[in-house]
């Protein structure tokens, strides 16, 4: 029974094969799934982008940003305002660019703050956006909220797959590069990192802005999925906390951790949300507390422990099979 040996020598091949299968599954999904399911999966992919980009910055540096909803909402409103003026792909790029620029501004001011203050300020940013956008909308456009011209379900789905793949890929490349190391060193001991030559301000602001860009782009795509948006929907604090909990549930130690969390919680959210909203939120709150209490390093944080246990079990079985005296582990 040489499964463990087979797995470890062909690890890379198996991984690529696995990812390929997932991609095929996603690509062919609309062919056999109903319209509603495609929408659900589209929204889950949105959560994947939000969770992965949140973890890109906050999971490494330890600066807890509560701002995702601000950048996500910015993208939503970019779509709401530009939907009739410009082609969709261009709006996505603009949504990303706007969020990037906005994040640079916010980052330059707030990233010199200690942990808790940074969290509070990014939280306040979301509320700030909600109120300001509502004010501007009522004052300048004479309305509160607007509907979004629908875009073909499947098109949105495929675009979203594209964005999700790009987000995960770029996050992975950054993680593996010297910049990923710089981010982790900032999370480990920012003063030491600075003294070893890392321009911490630049690294923090830049990565914060990149993660914001992905959130903004996701917002643009989310708008036609939501079909109706207003400042409370677009900048709902829920879109800050959901990605965070998804990332934590999945585990921020690896790039695919937040993906796992996003799929699980995203599925729960989209299927349960419609029924009995208050009960869903209550259950969600309970789940949140349980996750923080019992699974702070996430599901992927458990994997090394599980893997070791599994190895132990397998080697024990192997020794029994080969008739050797039972070794004391």
């Amino acid at each position: 029974m040489d499964i463990t040996r087979f797995v470890s020598t062909h690890k890379k091949l198996l991984l690529v094969g696995f990812l390929f299968l997932i991609l095929i599954f996603l690509a062919t999904f609309p062919l056999y799934a109903g319209k509603y399911d495609v929408r659900v999966l589209t929204f889950i992919l949105i959560y994947v982008v939000l969770a992965v980009s949140w973890a890109m910055f906050s999971g490494t540096t330890g600066y807890m940003s509560l701002a995702p909803a601000a950048f996500f909402g910015l993208g939503i409103y970019a779509m709401a305002l530009l939907q009739k003026e410009l082609p969709f792909p261009l709006i996505i790029a603009i949504g990303g660019a706007l969020s990037f620029a906005f994040a640079v501004l916010v980052g330059l001011v707030t990233l010199r703050l200690r942990g808790m203050y940074f969290a509070i300020f990014t939280f306040g940013l979301v509320v700030f956006m909600t109120e300001i956008v509502q004010y501007l909308e009522t004052r300048l456009l004479g309305r509160h909220g607007q509907s979004i011209i629908p875009i073909d379900n499947d098109t949105l789905f495929y675009i979203m797959i594209g964005l999700a793949v790009v987000t995960v890929l770029i996050t992975y490349l950054i993680r593996r590069s010297r910049w990923g190391l710089a981010l982790l060193s900032i999370g480990g001991n920012e003063e030491a990192a600075e003294h070893m030559g890392v321009n911490t301000t630049m690294v923090k602001v830049f990565i914060f802005a990149i993660s914001a860009a992905f959130m903004g782009a996701a917002g643009v795509i989310a708008a036609p999925v939501l079909l109706y948006v207003n400042s409370n929907i677009a900048f709902s604090v829920f879109y800050s906390f959901m990605p965070i909990f998804m990332a934590i549930l999945g585990g921020t130690g690896v790039v695919y951790g937040p993906v796992v969390g996003a799929v699980i919680l995203g599925y729960l959210e989209t299927t349960l949300r419609s029924q009995l909203f208050n009960y869903f939120m209550l259950v969600f709150g309970i789940i949140m507390v349980l996750i923080i209490l019992f699974l702070p390093s996430g599901i992927t944080g458990l994997l090394p422990i599980l893997r070791d246990k599994l190895k132990g079990v397998i080697s024990k079985l192997r020794k029994e099979n080969e008739g050797e005296p039972h070794a004391n582990t």
Binding site: R178, L184, N189, E191, A193, H195, G197, N199
Partner: protein
Amino acid sequence: MPILEGQGVTKLFGGLAAVSDVDFHVDQGEILGLIGPNGAGKTTLFNLISAALPLSSGEIKFKGQKINGLKPHQICRMGVSRTFQETKVFPNIPVLQNVLLGAFFGTPARISGAAAASEANQALEFVGLSAMGATPINDLTLGSQKRVEVARALATKPELLLLDELMAGLTSTEVGEAMELVTRIRDMGITIVMVEHVMKAIMGISSRVMVLNHGERIAEGTCDEVSSNRQVIDIYLGEETHAGS
């Protein structure tokens, strides 16, 4: 021209002067010992040199260039590196990654991944930890963690290295090993300033010693000169030489 010099260096916290009008110079290739009672301002002086704290007044020059007012990462890239009194290693990444960070970012020139890895491994080997690359930091003893800090600082290719209480908390054997390490670093051509309370180390390897007390420089000279200086004996060395290392 000294590799590092300071004139009128002063740091005020509120009304209190942690460092008061200190002049100093460090010659290339020497080991300068920096001693003084607790709270004398030694670590503060390091923090002023490395720009962890801004100067209240005065000037610090490295290789003739004014460095006060620059940011720590810029000073590192110019060729000044340091270790910390509280051992600021990165607890969330393994040993090799700690040192790699220094290799990647500590020099102004762009360096390839392979070159950085090679630098990092060399630094680890130099401090005697080449087998520990993949070990998580928290599994290491204090002495080993300090060596990782040194390796990390060395990976930034410094010309001047500031060591802040490297020997604190080490056993007598470890102190001997650390002294040998510091000497080897000096032999590579790196100038060293070391803050220490362990007199055996200071007197053993420093070429010159500077003494601070209440933020002021009260003595400077060779080991013999300083250890026979009445003022120094009175306020500091008196207890130390009796207590041993």
